[in-house]
């Protein structure tokens, strides 16, 4: 028996992919079922689909050119011509909100993609190799976390001049610390496990063990932190743009639309104007948080569906 078994392994190896495919399909199904049972998560997912759709199809949905100024119509109240009113330069608020969604989502997704990549690589290295490398990397994480993020962001923006690209780069380069801690934790607990030991005994390279053996186990928490991270970046971008240090006009962003809201004309005569951009930020971040929480529960095997 043992002989035939031993012979079978080299002849017809059961590839890792086959196994994982069978296993994963079932796991994903269970997760999807758990996710769909969470009402808030489903609401969040639907909201996200609508918002992303609105951003993608902004040129078709927007009734007007977002930068076109009609000074005669400045601060026009919501009505037939301007569904959500016009701003203090006579630009259509609805069109600006739709185009602003593109900027907010682009900055959110791109920054988080970057920071997740950096955080995963650094966390994996720190957790897998441990020792002095881990200690040094984690102290750097501690140091970066100690800077109140808004101070750091503003300082960097004054040095590199704000543009969509520099904002994404800054968010990515300074936003990876949370992911790194998370991934490190997962690697730390798994690096001594039997399957890693087995892989090492077989002479599989460290890179392969890290990326194709351990990393898939950390995928759940990484996806959750990415989802919540997008909401966080959208909030931070809105804050920077509100201060005039983020996305620069005339490019509309939800944050810089609020910049003009402190204008006395708007405060006195157009109370509705600041409500819309703020509401969009709120709804979008809320949707990301709902989905993130739903995913967290779905990925957690300890929580039954």
């Amino acid at each position: 028996m043992t002989l035939t078994n031993e012979r079978r392994i080299p002849n017809k190896p059961v590839s890792a992919e086959d196994h994982s495919l069978i296993g994963h399909e079932a796991i994903w199904k269970v997760m999807l079922r758990k996710f769909m049972k969470n009402k808030l998560a489903v609401i969040g997912a639907v909201l996200l689909i609508i918002i992303v759709g609105a951003a993608i199809f902004a040129p078709m949905l927007a009734p007007k050119d977002p930068s076109q100024q009609v000074l005669l119509d400045k601060l026009a109240p919501p009505g037939k011509d301007y569904p959500l009113g016009a701003d203090n330069l006579g630009r259509d608020t609805l069109s600006r909100l739709l185009y602003g969604a593109r900027i907010s989502l682009l900055v959110g997704f791109a920054s988080v993609a970057g920071s997740i990549f950096i955080g995963t690589v650094i966390g994996a290295i720190a957790g897998y190799f441990g020792g002095i490398l881990d200690a040094v990397l984690m102290r750097i994480v501690d140091a970066i976390i100690s800077f109140p993020s808004l101070f750091l962001l503003i300082t960097l923006v004054t040095i590199f001049e704000p543009s969509i690209f520099t904002l994404i780069a800054i968010f990515a380069v300074f936003g990876w610390t949370g992911t790194a801690r998370l991934v490190r934790g997962e690697f730390l607990s798994l690096r001594k496990s039997e399957f890693v030991l087995a892989a090492r005994t077989l002479g599989i390279s460290n890179t392969r063990i890290i990326f194709s053996h351990i990393l898939p186990n950390a995928l759940g928490p990484i996806i959750v932190s990415a989802t919540l991270g997008v909401g966080g970046v959208i909030l931070a971008e809105a804050g920077l743009s509100y201060l005039g240090l983020g996305i620069q006009p005339p490019t509309p962003s939800w944050g810089n639309m609020l910049q003009s809201a402190q204008n006395p004309q708007i405060m006195l005569g157009a109370w509705w104007y600041p409500l819309f951009p703020g509401f969009m930020i709120l709804i979008t971040v809320l949707a990301f948080n709902f989905v993130g929480d739903g995913l967290r529960d779905a990925f957690d095997p300890k929580i039954d569906d």
Partner: protein
Amino acid sequence: MTTYIIRRCLMAIPLLFLISVISFGIMKMAPGDPTALMMDPMIKQENLEAYKESYGLNDSIVVQYGRWLGNMVQGNFGESFIRQGVPVSELITARLPNTLLLMLVSTFIAFIISIPLGVWSATKRNSLQDYAITVVSFLGVATPNFWIGLVLIMVLSVHLGWFPIGGVATYGEPFSIWDRLHHLVLPAFVLATADMAGLTRYSRSSMLDVLRQDYIRTAKANGFRQKTVIFKHGLRNALIPIITIFGLMLPSFIGGSVIIESVFAWPGIGLLFMEAAFQRDYPVIMAVVVIAATLVVIGNLLADILYAVFDPRIEY
């Protein structure tokens, strides 16, 4: 305990060192050197060189870092580029009391509202109140607090006239505590909203953890009244982890002051920082960044030590 405290303090030193290195590195990335900003562009080359020499800009980067760090430890942050001759430390000490006042009051507001809400939510678990508080917390986390500030200014200050629209006191009026408080209420409340949602959620889960413990069941079984069990036996232990969360929230709290001080024209460190950012006044920018990070490190240190003091279960 003493050895733990000493060890914990020693651990903060490499952290502060790294913070200073990162800050210095960022400062060196800034385009142009101080001479480019401060000097007459028509200056002769040899005079420029003399200035550079006298400011030590021709020294090696390590020497420059050492000098910068040495000065900073002694409280010397250099001079402002824009307001020439004014030491940065003077600008900061002039604004610091306003920021500390704002932060203290809003911390107080955040705790006084969030902890009772969290405890209430936990004791009435899965009730309508619990659900409502959870939903409001979710909304609170997702709402940009500068927007809450803007809307409150528009409604309460501009339209209803209940509060001043900004500043720390009425201009030209003699000092009065009432006037100060009147100016303080809105910004302190809005700054508090930043962490209120998180703090409520955290106190709720902390309280739930404690209420599940055996000793609470024992206390109930012994016939203590519900109130006594919750407040006397439960709350005390539930509060311990909240000390840690305060340490964790400190960075967002200090960071939030930049934006709230800008919304309310509150002349504190945050507003000084914004003015400096728009004028590219790097010595001021860097001093504020270093001080803010140092405050966070000290805050976390205090939180850890307090945690050790209050929780006798932890042995060191």
